[in-house]
């Protein structure tokens, strides 16, 4: 680090706010937040020994071991981890949209062994053409809602899941919001909401102003206009008069 402080040539001055591509090795070693529970090289090696080819890759960042496994062997590996190595608690599960051409989606599994105080992250990768993953509900009952959430957010279907409904969004919604191509402001008309006044129709766009249209005038203003027509004439030319 000290040599970086004194550049040999002015042009090589490091601009630290530029995105760095390679992981910073010195930061890796001195990370003050490394936990002993995530340092599980013996688990990774026993996985490699037992499953061989099915373990595609393993890497370490911030003292955390991540094992990339083949999708077809995921259930076997999890069952082995649960029954033989004591990883009996599924802490978390979720999807990742990498937005790449190949193997676009990832699912990570955060497994915990309560007795041995260990934590391990498994990952599988899924291509866009074949959006299916094996369900873990047979191994961990608690995977149920997490898998539903992953299906809701990314549209990854979990084969064999007992109840694959959306978790947060209603069934009437037809998009998968955590995919990278889904716009942050949502899609107008995709999710009808209850009417804002008793007589009005469904609200097709909850954020009309964000999409460039004027919001519906409130119920009270409609009433006052009906009661006093001369006042509404005075306001002609203002917003909302197109209703009359």
């Amino acid at each position: 680090m000290a040599s970086k402080q004194q550049p040999t040539h002015p042009k090589t001055l490091p601009f630290l706010f530029t995105p760095v591509d390679s992981s910073d090795e010195s930061a890796e070693r001195t990370n003050p937040h490394i936990k002993s529970s995530t340092d599980v090289p013996d688990v990774v090696s026993s996985l490699k020994e037992r499953f061989g080819e099915a373990v595609l890759d393993s890497r370490v960042y911030a003292g955390e071991h991540t094992v990339l496994v083949a999708r077809d062997h995921l259930v076997d590996i999890c069952r082995y981890l649960k029954e033989e190595l004591g990883f009996n608690f599924l802490s978390d599960l979720g999807g990742i949209d990498r937005f790449t051409d190949e193997d676009r989606y990832e699912i990570f599994y955060n497994l915990v062994s309560i007795e041995k105080e260990q934590r391990l992250r498994l990952k599988i990768r899924i291509g866009e053409s074949d959006l299916e993953a094996p369900t873990l509900t047979d191994v961990f009952h608690g995977a149920d809602w997490n898998e539903r959430e992953c299906y809701d957010m990314f549209g990854i279907r979990f084969v064999g899941h007992p109840d694959l409904r959306r978790m947060y969004m209603p069934e009437d919604f037809e998009y998968y919001p955590l995919r990278k191509e889904f716009p942050l402001l949502g899609i107008p008309g995709s999710l009808p909401l209850p009417p804002q006044t008793p007589e009005a129709g469904l609200t097709m766009d909850p954020f009309p102003a964000a999409h460039g249209s004027k919001p519906v005038k409130s119920y009270d203003e409609e009433l006052s206009k009906d009661l006093s027509p001369e006042r509404s004439e005075n306001r002609s030319g203002g917003p909302g008069t197109d209703v009359a």
């Binding site: 936990k35 978390d92 969004m169």
Partner: protein, 437 residues
Amino acid sequence: MSIIEQLDFSKTLSYWPRHNEAIYRRLESKHAWLEERHHPDDDEAVDPLDNEMILNIGPQHPATHGVIRCVVKLDGETIKKCVLDIGYLHRGLEKLAESKTYQEFMPYTDRMDYLSPYSNNVAWCLAVEKLAAIEVPERAQWIRMIMSELARISSHLLWMGVSLMDAGAVSVFLWTFQFREDLYNIFDEVTGARLTVSHSRIGGLVTDLGEKGIEMIEDFIERFPVAVGEWEKLLNRNRIWIDRVDGVGVLTAEEAVELGMTGANLRGSGVGHDIRRFEPYLKYDEVDFTIPIRTEGDALARYFVRMEEMKEAIIIIRQCLDRLPEGEIRSDDAKRSYPGKDEVYYSMEGLIHDFMVTDTGVCPPNGAEAYHAIEAPKGELGFFLQSDGTGRPCRVRINSPSFSNLQGLESMLEGGMMGDMVVMIATVDPVLGEADK
């Protein structure tokens, strides 16, 4: 003919017909967790008064602690099956985080578990600090611990007041809210806001804990244990309260682990899993405290665990105040955390750094990913972050304890009595702001 065939959802409901139909279909087709587990042998006996009823409870219901909808199938007063419908408070925090810098996301974490916003701030900061390998000064870590424990007390106080109110004892609600008011005053003094504190910064804190703040905290930890003792005198042997919660919503240790329960719900079932011990963060490995565990696994056990946790929190705060060192409250690395206001106002470099930290912030290396969890009042609150080398996260995954606990609640409700439903929801202590993200 089942009830679904009789109802034509597209005609009865003007919006979300498919959603409601799916819930009812699930209720029909579901095999209840308890049905599989504790199936009685003599279910052939037919009750002449037997009738089935489907009841919608929520999303707007005072006893549901937020916008949670329970669709239950009743057999008399017994809940045969239950389907929980959540998402009414879904704001898409994970999606929003992808367009914010790491620091900008902090105010959103206040609004997750709004009963203990400080814990959420700390959890977020620790996750980012782990991802970017940022060291936090000693003093900041101790202050974070003090405030997180105060947040734990605040959250448990609300839980206690509300669950006792659900069980019929309104006066406890008023007593706990006196102390919650004191806690809010402390937060106001220390952080400048009562509810949405946003006090942590990446690499430290925004303001130091002053003399007055310490005085208020010391005053609080003097008075609070006395009050807890009085409440325990009233409640621990109170026939009405014990009869109401004893044996209600039982989860065995195996069931709790399998369902993925966290926090006091897991420890009430006899599993001693606490992140403060499991993977100590901040200075939890340097203070002396015990983790209360009960083995019964019912609502009463969860009550005892939370009462003990409040007392343990006071013990932790005492030790923190004794050992609070002098020093910086924010990392001195201007490329990674905010410079002090003096620097910003009086030096060009300080201003530039302030601008750059606000505009871009920390940039963890491309492909870096890290998970950091803390023991929030509700359980394991963790953030899984993935970086693409820019100042904004590529993916943020919130592992929220209320979400895990609600999943267990669905199974817990099945087989229970309708009248106990409110008690079960209360003792699981869900916060929908967090569960719905």
